[in-house]
Symmetry: C2
Subunit: 112 residues, 2 copies
């Protein structure tokens, strides 16, 4: 549970930046080399590499070096923790709606 | 577009903390006073209020004061921007899968 919470912290931090979301969107179209990616984002290479590192250390992308080229690959499974968290919230809301509905259709529920 | 991106930054930052996610989950069960909420989270009131402020300034909750009691209400609509963003990513992945499928079933596609 603590591990899941720490994972969520990291994933949400990684997603809280337009460059990092841009990289995720770009990698959704397929694996891409760091060099090619960097050309699409207007910043210095060291700044861009910090974003790549944040994405990789939080498990949202993998990178692998072959010769002189480092390729980035999206890890879609890690984004699923966001889906799971949203689904948990929806479940809480639905339980509340069900409870309110029972109160309306059976007011005695309130006094039980 | 820039506004949507800034909204996403704020929402993801607000979600990148276990206390703030805990408040969102708790408010999913219904509106709650700040005092009652604060008792459920083991920290000083000023620290807790900072989290409430982050949630409110990023539009995830509303608060309203009536007499001496400030009540917090979840703003579910703001969480929908996360759903929308995830849906955009999924669309990109599906387009890629469609493209790969076309390449497999019609290899000449590649040379067009």
């Amino acid at each position: 549970m603590a591990q899941y919470s720490a994972q969520l912290d990291g994933v949400f931090i990684a997603l809280a930046d337009p460059t990092r979301r841009g990289v995720i969107r770009r990698l959704g179209r397929g694996p891409t080399s760091v060099g090619e990616l960097a050309r699409e984002f207007p910043m210095t290479l060291p700044s861009f590499m910090k974003h790549i590192h944040t994405l990789e250390s939080n498990g949202l992308i993998h990178t692998a070096k072959s010769g002189r080229v480092r390729t980035c690959v999206l890890n879609r499974e890690r984004l699923a923790v966001v889906d799971d968290w949203l689904a948990e919230q929806r479940q809480t809301w639905e339980e509340r709606t069900d409870r309110l509905e029972r109160l309306v259709t059976d007011p005695e529920e309130n006094t039980r």
